[in-house]
């Protein structure tokens, strides 16, 4: 890709960037300490564990400045908009906008106690959530953060105004009303339909009083896209933006209501070519980087020795292979499921890992869930128990033969279905320039050839159009990535529910619809997990998709920085930017 997208802000979304990594030795390195780090690297993942929350913890001195890297120039300041919903923009905006909940590196979701006194679901029928805002929480111009802000952020994201190009309406569209009391410091949200992941709402809120100065909701929403925030509800305020938008300087917010902020200033510099980031770090032009890991990048960081600290973790993103059930063979009502199951049974995920991700992360293992990743509460193996991804070629051939398929195996003229129709050549797509995905697809194709199935592997430079099958684009099989979130219930629903916005392959199962709906509507974690796993198992039985592995993340910075750490959630490393500092 061009790099195109990076990681998502909020919600699960597809990773379209290409990480062409080839080789990296596993390093045993030092982990976190209570005095920051002493340099060096590690590729032992701690994401999803409590160790991730305390990595590089330290007591910072007061004062100083840090320069951090982002990979896009600041073209859009409204991360709630469809166009602005980009990881890099969110890294900057995290420092300026208040959020009700924090997504931690351990994947735990905790209430932002600097903004809120409490947040409780006071009723389930109708679902009602009451937020109490800290009395001293104000925007940097002194205006109190209050219910008006919640109301505005709900109105622009609830989908009632079709002209507002919001990134997501999930959850907000379930809300019936948002009202304020106690001088606006108590906010009551009443839901018309239950939404279990209510903690995922009211993240990165924009100031209502500023919105009022710029027209109606649509106009103000667009204004926030094109203009740096003039006020801040976070630990920093915007001081300046360069004319070419490659750098943003933030200074400490003088009206910050939370724990004292150690840094005087933080500068975000855009380095749009990830390959240049280690050099910029080595030349002290930036103090920290967060690129997608690639062999060359990691080798450069290794070469810097203990002058820098770097960490490779397994992230929330994961690669997977999907079938398009709109294909007449793959989606055949009679024998399509058998065909798909055989194809995934013949797929050897360990071989794929060995050729791809294990080249630079030897500890990587196959992922056995679509809904959750390792480290998330409730993760379990919903894949291999059905024989998928095991590379058991003989079993796959036997499956096809027993079902009445003819010419099973290579060199027999091509697989024929039980009804006598020839199994067509399947077009398998991957993002152009992504060597790892090319290797994955090539291996898959060679395995399918052993079943008598021809798979033509072709790149696409427009994954979006390919998945949505628009503009003459399309696919039969595709290799791409989703990114999980700390809210798997609501995040997965659009991907596997009949007619869901992310259900590109046309999957439909009434039971899965029901289980995912139950999970999304429930606030009880065990109910969510139970229903997600049931849905996941059904999707495996239906052989719609095959999860492959979790994508790694990479962070590198000078050891003089404390409280800087990897965060594989959509909030990213700047989730705690107000705690960043220099070693005392």
């Amino acid at each position: 890709m061009t790099g195109t997208e990076r990681r998502p802000h909020r919600r699960r979304r597809m990773v379209v960037c290409a990480a062409a990594a080839t080789g990296l030795a596993l390093l045993a390195g030092c982990g976190g300490s209570n005095n920051g780090t002493s340099g060096g690297g590690s590729s032992t993942s701690i994401s999803g564990t409590s160790a991730a929350d305390s990595f590089n913890t330290g007591t910072p001195k007061q004062g100083g400045s840090v320069t951090w890297t982002i990979e896009k120039t600041m073209q859009n300041w409204n991360v709630l908009s469809a166009d602005g919903n980009t990881f890099d923009y969110a890294q900057v905006v995290n420092a300026l906008t208040p959020s009700t909940y924090i997504f931690n590196p351990s994947y735990k979701v905790t209430m932002n106690s600097e903004l809120l006194v409490s947040a409780n679901e006071t009723s389930t029928s109708p679902e009602t959530v009451v937020y109490k805002i800290q009395p001293n929480a104000v925007w940097s111009d002194g205006t109190p953060i209050n219910a008006d802000d919640f109301i505005y952020n709900w109105q622009v994201q609830n989908g009632t105004d079709a002209n507002i190009a919001a990134a997501s309406t999930t959850g907000y569209q379930n809300i019936q009303s948002v009202t304020g009391s106690d001088n606006g410091k108590t906010v009551t949200t009443v839901y018309k339909t239950p939404f279990g992941d209510w903690k995922s709402l009211f993240i990165n809120m924009y100031p209502a009083h500023i919105a009022k100065q710029h027209g109606n909701n649509e106009q103000s929403f667009n204004w926030f896209q094109t203009n740096p925030l003039p006020v801040s509800g976070g630990p920093f305020v915007v001081s300046s933006v360069s004319s070419d938008k490659t750098s943003v300087i933030l200074k400490r917010n003088p009206k910050w209501y939370g724990t004292a902020v150690p840094l005087d200033q933080i500068t975000f510099r855009a380095i749009t070519d990830a390959a240049q980031e280690p050099t910029a770090l080595q030349n002290h032009e930036v103090d920290g980087i967060y690129p997608q890991p690639e062999t060359n990048l990691v080798n450069q960081l290794k070469g810097m020795g203990n002058t820098i600290t770097y960490k490779i973790d397994s992230g929330l993103g994961f690669e997977h292979i999907d079938f398009n059930l709109k294909n007449s063979a793959l989606g055949n009502a009679t024998w399509g499921k058998t065909l798909r199951t055989a194809m995934f049974t013949a797929t050897d995920r360990n071989a794929i890992l060995s050729k791809t991700i294990q080249q630079f992360q030897s500890s990587a293992v196959p992922l056995n869930s679509r809904m959750l990743v390792q480290g998330q509460n409730g993760y379990q193996d919903n894949v291999t128990q059905f024989g998928l991804g095991t590379g058991n070629l003989s079993k796959a051939q036997q499956m096809l033969t027993s079902a009445g398929f003819k010419n099973v195996g290579s060199g027999k003229g091509g697989l024929t279905a039980p009804d006598g129709s020839k199994i067509p050549t399947f077009q398998m797509k991957y993002t152009v320039g992504n060597q790892i995905r090319l290797d994955t697809c090539s291996l898959f194709a060679s395995e399918m050839a052993q079943l008598g199935i021809t798979v033509a592997v072709t790149p696409t430079d427009n994954l979006g159009a390919t998945l949505t099958q628009t503009g003459g684009n399309g696919y039969d099989i595709v290799d791409f990535a989703w990114v999980n979130t700390p809210f798997p219930a609501s995040a997965n629903q659009p991907l596997y529910t009949t007619g869901g916005g992310g259900n590109f392959g046309g999957y439909s199962n009434k039971n899965v619809d029901a289980w995912l709906a139950t999970a999304a509507a429930s606030s009880d974690t065990s109910t969510q997990i139970s229903n997600l796993n049931k849905a996941d198992q059904q999707i495996s039985q239906d052989a719609y998709t095959l999860p492959l592995y979790q994508k790694p993340t990479l962070i590198a910075f000078f050891p003089s920085l404390v409280n800087v750490r990897d965060n594989a959630t959509s909030m990213g490393p700047t989730y705690n930017v107000g705690q960043w500092g220099l070693k005392s």
């Binding site: 890709m1 061009t2 195109t4 997208e5 998502p8 919600r11 979304r13 597809m14 379209v16 120039t73 073209q75 859009n76 908009s81 469809a82 166009d83 602005g84 919903n85 989908g159 079709a162 190009a165 919001a166 990134a167 997501s168 999930t170 667009n222 896209q225 094109t226 001081s239 300046s240 360069s242 004319s243 070419d244 490659t246 750098s247 943003v248 200033q265 500068t267 510099r269 380095i271 749009t272 070519d273 240049q276 050099t279 910029a280 080595q282 030349n283 002290h284 032009e285 430079d461 427009n462 994954l463 979006g464 159009a465 949505t468 628009t470 503009g471 989703w482 991907l495 916005g501 992310g502």
Partner: protein, 325 residues
């Protein structure tokens, strides 16, 4: 000469229209401006897609869309909307041109000075050790891929900076944010050094060979022998009679090469992270942002047309033997 210039400009108009239309076709067929947006999950609603399609004039035929772009630009001075909501194409052009101009002008000046020195020395000391060394250096830089040279140079400078514990030469971007006054000036110089060297060296190599050949041609001419025979010093002969004449072809070659240098700046800007015209084009192509691509093409086409015209006119001005009909 005025008539010649006007004729050339008039001919350029249909050339410009055809080239922009062809590029428009290629971009329209090759990319979906809303592709990246549609790829987000959850994808934006159809109403949002429709709204953005209307905004970008996507729901019209290609000739209609081209005419819309053309008329908006030339009759209303509007470059059109970018697919990236927060981008003002006009403003983007201004900042991009300023950055690229800063880089290119300095690179051209450096390359010309070095090429003249190398070409003259090489020609006057033909087949000497000096000539061979200069020739070798010239061919070396001619064969070095710009991208490779830039990365090697960066890494060498980084190692030097680290060993000296001095970070005055920067490897990325056009400036360190937040500086003012003298600090900003010296910082800008520090950011200019590496990309200027890279861009200059690729032009220096061919120009030095060109200058050497031109100088040799002049040195072998009768009037030079006559000037020496009349008793003028070698220095006077070389500079007043020889070099002045030998510079004419180089001057026009430089004018013709400006457009090529703009293209070479794409790679240099990518490696060094300058948000100039080259980066603007690359980003526009990646995003399928046809208005940005066409804006780049318009500016580049104007540069090519103007500098080609300048080259032709300069030849007539510098060489009295040439007159334009």
């Amino acid at each position: 000469m005025l008539a010649f210039a006007l004729r050339r400009l008039l001919i350029s108009i249909p050339v410009f229209i055809v080239s922009t239309f062809l590029v428009f076709l290629l971009v329209t067929w090759g990319a979906d401006p809303l592709g990246q947006l549609k790829a987000k999950n959850p994808p934006p609603s159809q109403a949002v897609i429709n709204q953005l399609s209307d905004q970008l004039y996507l729901n019209h035929s290609i000739p209609e869309r081209y005419w819309h772009w053309f008329s908006q630009l030339f009759f209303h001075g509007d470059w059109g909307p970018s697919v990236q909501q927060g981008t003002d194409i006009g403003q983007l052009l201004l900042t991009s041109i300023e950055l690229t101009a800063r880089l290119v002008i300095l690179a051209i000046v450096l390359a010309v000075i070095l090429a003249i020195i190398a070409g003259v020395v090489s020609a006057t000391r033909q087949y000497s050790k000096t000539d061979y060394i200069i020739t070798l250096i010239g061919f070396l830089f001619l064969s070095l891929p710009v991208f490779w040279f830039a990365i090697l140079l960066k890494q060498a400078v980084v190692n030097l900076n680290n060993s000296a514990n001095w970070y005055g030469i920067s490897t990325y971007g056009s400036g360190t944010p937040g500086l003012t006054g003298g600090a900003a000036f010296w910082d800008a110089i520090g950011h200019l050094i590496l990309p200027t060297i890279v861009l200059a060296m690729s032009s220096y190599a061919s120009w030095s060979r060109f200058q050497r050949a031109s100088m040799l041609d002049v040195l072998g001419s009768d009037y030079m022998r006559l000037a020496r025979a009349k008793g003028l010093s070698r220095r006077q002969v070389m500079i007043r009679h020889g070099l002045r004449t030998a510079l004419i072809p180089l001057t026009t070659q430089v004018a013709l090469d400006v457009a090529a240098i703009l293209g070479g700046a794409v790679l240099t800007e990518s490696v060094f992270g300058w948000q100039g015209m080259g980066t603007m084009l690359v980003n526009g192509i990646n995003a399928g942002d046809f208005n940005v691509i066409l804006a780049w093409l318009t500016v580049s086409a104007i540069f090519v047309i103007v500098f080609n015209l300048i080259a032709d006119l300069l030849y007539g001005v510098l060489d009295p033997r040439i007159r334009h009909a």
